[in-house]
């Protein structure tokens, strides 16, 4: 099991860049997800214990964080890369069942729609705090 998506595609084949970017997005997400978890969910535990805020994630704290341009960039990068990596991973699994070309196009189109709808929900949720 050298790779869960089968053999490494050769450069210049259609699957190469998808395969390559799945690795790149994965490595970026390793950093982004662990940082997100630490800052958003673990760092505020001290303030919860001190009675400064009721829960680690409260509206006002999120608003203050997203007033900083760094976190706007960070959260959008996380949203886009996580959706890409997750949905492309699901596409890889589905394509291993070797669907017909027509079914393959349906899978790709459905995942694109799911991804764009999810991005729109995530982006609009963030924009509430930013704008």
């Amino acid at each position: 099991m050298a790779s869960h998506t089968g053999e490494t595609p050769a450069r210049g084949t259609p699957g190469f860049w998808l395969w390559f970017f799945q690795r790149i997005s994965g490595l970026l997400l390793l950093f982004l997800v662990l940082t997100h978890g630490s800052i958003t969910h673990f760092l505020p535990i001290g303030d919860v214990q001190a009675g400064i805020q009721d829960e680690p994630v409260v509206y006002e704290v999120v608003k203050q964080r997203l007033a900083q341009a760094f976190f706007v960039f960070f959260d959008f990068a996380l949203l886009i890369l996580a959706l890409y990596h997750g949905l492309n991973g699901i596409r890889n699994i589905l394509l291993e069942w070797r669907p017909t070309a027509r079914r393959q196009r349906m899978v790709t189109a459905s995942l694109w729609i799911l991804g764009l709808v999810s991005f729109s929900f995530g982006a609009r949720a963030l924009l509430v705090f930013i704008l």
């Binding site: 050298a2 790779s3 869960h4 490494t8 690795r23 994965g26 490595l27 997400l29 390793l30 997800v33 662990l34 978890g37 969910h41 673990f42 535990i45 919860v48 214990q49 009721d54 829960e55 680690p56 994630v57 409260v58 509206y59 006002e60 999120v62 949203l79 996580a82 959706l83 997750g86 949905l87 991973g89 699901i90 699994i93 799911l114 999810s118 929900f121 995530g122 609009r124 949720a125 963030l126 509430v128 705090f129």
Partner: protein
């Protein structure tokens, strides 16, 4: 395992986006919803999520290292390193979660 954890994490991602989307319904609705999902029961379940995230992350690094030709001759020890790092990270986050679970 990488596929199972990946599908679980993608499902979680979509739920996570749905939860934070309540910000569009106002600060009070957002805070009520987040109070619910930060209930001690969910804080405990969160440790399972962290275990899945860490396993998928470390195993993913292992896959990338194999892709570039590193560690192929030591597949067994590479796998157990992933497991050990996952257990260590999950244990550490469980200890940090104690104030959120018992309150």
């Amino acid at each position: 395992m990488q596929r199972v954890t990946g599908v679980l994490l993608t499902g979680y991602l979509l739920l996570h986006i749905a939860v934070i989307s309540t910000s569009q319904l106002g600060a009070d609705t957002f805070d009520d919803t987040l109070k619910f999902v930060q209930h001690p029961v969910f804080a405990a379940l969160n440790i399972v999520l962290i275990a899945i995230v860490l396993y998928h992350s470390f195993n993913g690094v292992r896959v990338v290292l194999f892709d570039v030709g590193i560690g192929i001759r030591r597949q067994a020890s590479a796998f157990w390193t992933c497991v050990a790092l996952t257990i260590a990270g999950t244990g550490a986050s469980a200890v940090l979660s104690i104030p959120l679970i018992f309150r």
